[in-house]
């Protein structure tokens, strides 16, 4: 176990070193989330003004949705980019021939993603409070913790699937790292209630843990409390998705071993 922690710490530090020296990389952690917050925040203010107070809660809905979406998106990015980092630098074989186990690699990427998201959350919360008088903690209360963890886990599973695609198609699939989460955005009812979707799409949406979290977020804003179902159902779905995505990753890894793709990763 001690050795496993040493491996996890090694990979966590390997990813963290990248931010230590490079100002652009350090900025990269918060740049896009902050830009999104500014745009969505000002759009919300504008809508509020135009609607003359009829949509008083629009700013709360939209900023909450934007921050929650960012947790999911950054979590997916953390996993997929951690993996592809070693493909880009042609270091993947050096890593694969060490005693590092796949699960240790995944845990390290999850921890790295978690720390990154925590930093983003803090920055966004402070900015939203200063600019729009929006208090994330006051709005979501303690629900914020299980909801964020659910999004983190789902983002991680999507990140694993994305990494599996890179194992299969190499850097030709690189664009999917940025694209795959946006396949989920319209179905997850991020910025609008589930009821807006056509009935057949609602059925699909109910199969995604993210939908429950975004619906739950709006329920908390409206009613101030939340049924436990909004946390437990996505949690169980997350367990299912995590197992499935880990199995897909392992299967793709085995296939890459058989077809000799591991040694060619990053060379395409």
């Amino acid at each position: 176990m001690k050795q496993s922690w040493s491996h996890i710490f090694a990979m966590f530090m390997r990813y963290s070193y990248l931010h230590k020296r490079s100002i652009p990389r350090a900025f990269e952690i918060a740049f896009w989330p902050v830009m999104e917050l500014l745009v969505w925040g000002f759009v919300s203010l504008y809508i509020q003004q135009v609607a003359h107070g009829a949509l008083s809660k629009i700013i709360v809905f939209l900023i909450n949705a934007m921050i929650f979406w960012d947790i999911l998106y950054r979590s997916q990015q953390a996993i997929a980019l951690s993996f592809v980092q070693d493909v880009w630098t042609q270091n993947i074989i050096n890593i694969l021939v060490t005693p590092l186990r796949i699960w240790e690699w995944i845990v390290a990427a999850f921890i790295y993603g978690f720390v990154k998201i925590l930093i983003i959350l803090i920055i966004l919360s402070v900015l939203a409070l200063g600019l729009y008088n929006f208090n994330l903690i006051e709005t979501q209360g303690l629900y914020l913790i299980p909801m964020s963890l659910n999004l983190l886990l789902f983002g991680g599973s999507v990140g694993l699937i994305t990494s599996s695609l890179i194992l299969r198609w190499g850097l030709a699939a690189e664009a999917l790292i940025w694209g795959v989460p946006f396949l989920l955005q319209p179905i997850s009812a991020v910025f609008y209630p589930l009821s807006i979707l056509p009935p057949w799409l609602q059925v699909i949406a109910m199969g995604l843990p993210s939908t429950y979290i975004f619906e739950g977020m709006r329920t908390i804003v409206k009613e101030g409390s939340l049924s436990l179902d909004y946390l437990l159902l996505p949690f169980f779905l997350n367990i299912f998705y995590f197992i499935v995505s880990a199995l897909i990753f392992l299967w793709m890894y085995r296939q890459a071993q058989i077809h000799g793709r591991l040694s060619k990763l990053g060379m395409d």
Binding site: Q3, S6, R14, Y17, N91, N94, P99, L100
Partner: protein, 246 residues
Amino acid sequence: MSPLLPLIEIKDLCKQFPGTLALNHFNLTLQNGEIVGLLGPNGAGKTTAMHTLLGILTPTSGEVSVLGMSPFKERHVIAQNINFSSAYVQLPTNLTVMENLKTFARLYAVPNAKNKISDLLELFEISYLTKRLTGALSSGEKTRLNLCKCLLNDPQLLLLDEPTASLDPEIADTVRKILKKFNQEKNIGILYTSHNMPEIEQLCDRIVFIHQGRVLAEGTPKEVIQKFSTQNLEQVFIKIVRGEYQ
């Protein structure tokens, strides 16, 4: 692992890729403390054999044992006791020399890593590079850094794929001497590929010539040269590649 067991034992190994038989009933053994040169033209199957030994490529058929274990069932145990370097595999260019070595020291759970890293950097005469970004190193410096990484975990077995490919003759000579020293003092087994035939003659106890996935010749460099009635290994190489042999 029993000292009598070979470090590497490959029996009847075949690896079929679509349209190519990369390894064709390939056999190889490497004993404790032995340096074996795996020679052959590009595409002969050398890297395929190495990647199979490292457990990152599954064979189509045949038996592979490293340190008496299967690289597919007990890869993590084996990985702790072997290491690998290739002229074609890089360490992350966006990390410094020290960050890279610290990362791999942690991955190999190296005790007293700081001292170990410092000793190796000194041995390869690159102590002055610790804070330099790996991407800013010359290819010779990168190769020496790779070899430092290789020796971090005091391996019993080293798999080196053209490790001196980008070195100038003086540094290449230093590297060979260091490898020979480690081999003799610590009884490390080394599987070595290179296209530099004089280097192979100088360094290897035994060579295995491979062409189109098959072993064509095996023995000490002297024995192989005699067998092909040539002056040196370079001529053997040319004869084999051109098919000018019985």
